[in-house]
């Protein structure tokens, strides 16, 4: 569904990505791991259109989307749960969710479906989004992304700053969605969670792919080596 070919990215004169080849097939969950500064966030920015990329370096469902503005890529069916949640502070929980549906893409997720999946959000729907706990905010951000009925869901560090029990709960919810079909890229600090949850795994190191393969086939040792670059 999504392929990147020799994807490079720059912040001014500073090169952050050096030719990333990556592929996500329909129905797959692909995880990306790597240390801070390895280029994971940069990669996601190029995919979602927040950072310029060469036009043919990113292909989504048969179209070159590199360099397309972010709102058009969102319209095309890529939705992201951003790092740090980034809920809209002056909007209520429900209004945040409704923002997810801004593109009005058809699909199985509407407000009721998301409330059924995440009942705590329904309880707090009129409250300001800032009044939610960390875990609840993460659920709201996921719900918001789901409401876009995306073809490809991207989750950027959804375990960051959350207690392990909350992280488990969130991945359980993702697991339920997966049963009905989900194509996703999961960027994770928690390597164990990434291996458990994904079909295939990529490891980034200093702007390059240092390792890739089936999540259940890669050894702990191989991942360590690729992660730290030793």
């Amino acid at each position: 569904m999504l392929t990147t070919h020799n994807l490079t990215a720059f912040y001014g004169d500073f090169q952050a990505l050096f030719g990333i080849d990556l592929e996500v097939n329909a129905g797959e969950i692909v995880s990306i791991i790597g240390a801070n500064g390895a280029g994971k966030s940069t990669f996601l920015k190029t995919i979602t259109g927040l950072l310029k990329a060469p036009h043919s370096a990113v292909r989504f469902e048969g179209r070159d989307i590199g360099g397309m503005p972010a709102h058009r890529i969102a319209q095309a069916g890529i939705a992201m749960v951003p790092e740090g949640r980034r809920l809209f502070a002056s909007l209520s929980v429900e209004e945040n969710l409704k923002m997810g549906a801004y593109t009005r893409r058809p699909g199985r997720f509407d407000l009721d479906a998301v409330y059924a999946l995440l009942p705590v959000l329904k309880e707090k729907r009129t409250q300001p989004s800032t009044s939610l706990s960390g875990g609840q905010q993460q659920m709201a951000a996921i719900g918001r992304a789901l409401l876009a009925n995306p073809r490809l869901l991207i989750c950027d560090e959804i375990s960051l700053g959350l207690a392990p029990i909350v992280v488990k709960e969130i991945y359980e919810i993702l697991g339920r969605i997966r049963k009905e079909g989900l194509t996703a890229i999961i960027v994770e600090q928690d390597v164990g969670m990434a291996r458990l949850f994904s079909d295939r795994l990529y490891c980034f190191q200093e702007g390059r792919v240092s390792l890739s393969g089936r999540s259940d086939a890669l050894s702990h040792e191989a991942i360590s080596k690729a992660y730290f670059g030793v």
Partner: protein
Amino acid sequence: MIAWIDTIVQGVLLGGLYALFAMGLSLMFGVMRLVNIAHGDFILLAAFAGMALVTGLGVSPGIALLVLMPLAFAFGYGLQRGILNFALGRDILPPLLITFGLSIVIQNALLQIFSADTRSIQAGALVTASLHLGEGLAVGWLPLTIFVSAIAVALALQWLFGATRIGRAFRAAADDSEAAQLMGVDNRHIYALATAIAMVVVAIAGVFHGIRTTIAPTDGPALLLYAFEAVVIGGLGSFWGTFAGGVILGVAQSIGFRLDPGWGILVGHLAFLAVLLVKPNGLFPKTR
């Protein structure tokens, strides 16, 4: 005693006009964090345009306003998309210098076209007719109309921002423009819509202003200051706060004029400074 009540009432009604001035400024700042120094000049531009329509087409000011509103919408959209979108960003200087430049261009263009003479929009009986509330208290139909229009605009804007998809997009883009893009919001388009709506409010304010008083091409900056003071007094974050700020400013000026004709505007400025000193966030700020 009656004279003082009359002063306050006139001040409140004047405040309606200032609220109209202020709401356009508040809208643009609320969505884009853009302070438009040419705001007052745009109000004047609308007033002169309204006057030209009235004298040129021979229609009533009401019809002229109806014609002007869609024109203002298109103008605002083009202005934002064509020029002001480039002023947004981290640098502090470009937005101020660009809008200041616009102010100079508009003032001098108006001077060139209309010369420095003062004039006003002819509205016939509406200007002088008044409603008698008994006991020496009379309220002009014009100020009343302006006040009611201001309420209507505040209601409309509050509804737009609070209950519509576009309003949510405005607020989301103001909170986090990058995240809004991820939701599919086209920021350039949204900002242009915001300015377009602001210009419609400006058109209404301008036409009313032109009916109410005589106008001259260099009046713009004074109107900007009133609008700005109303916004700051009221506090950022809500249109009703801005409305209240306008009313307070109107009352302050009215009291000032009553004390001495040369002191009217000065008292308004002093009231603004007092609020700024004591309550820097305004009197009715919306807490985040």
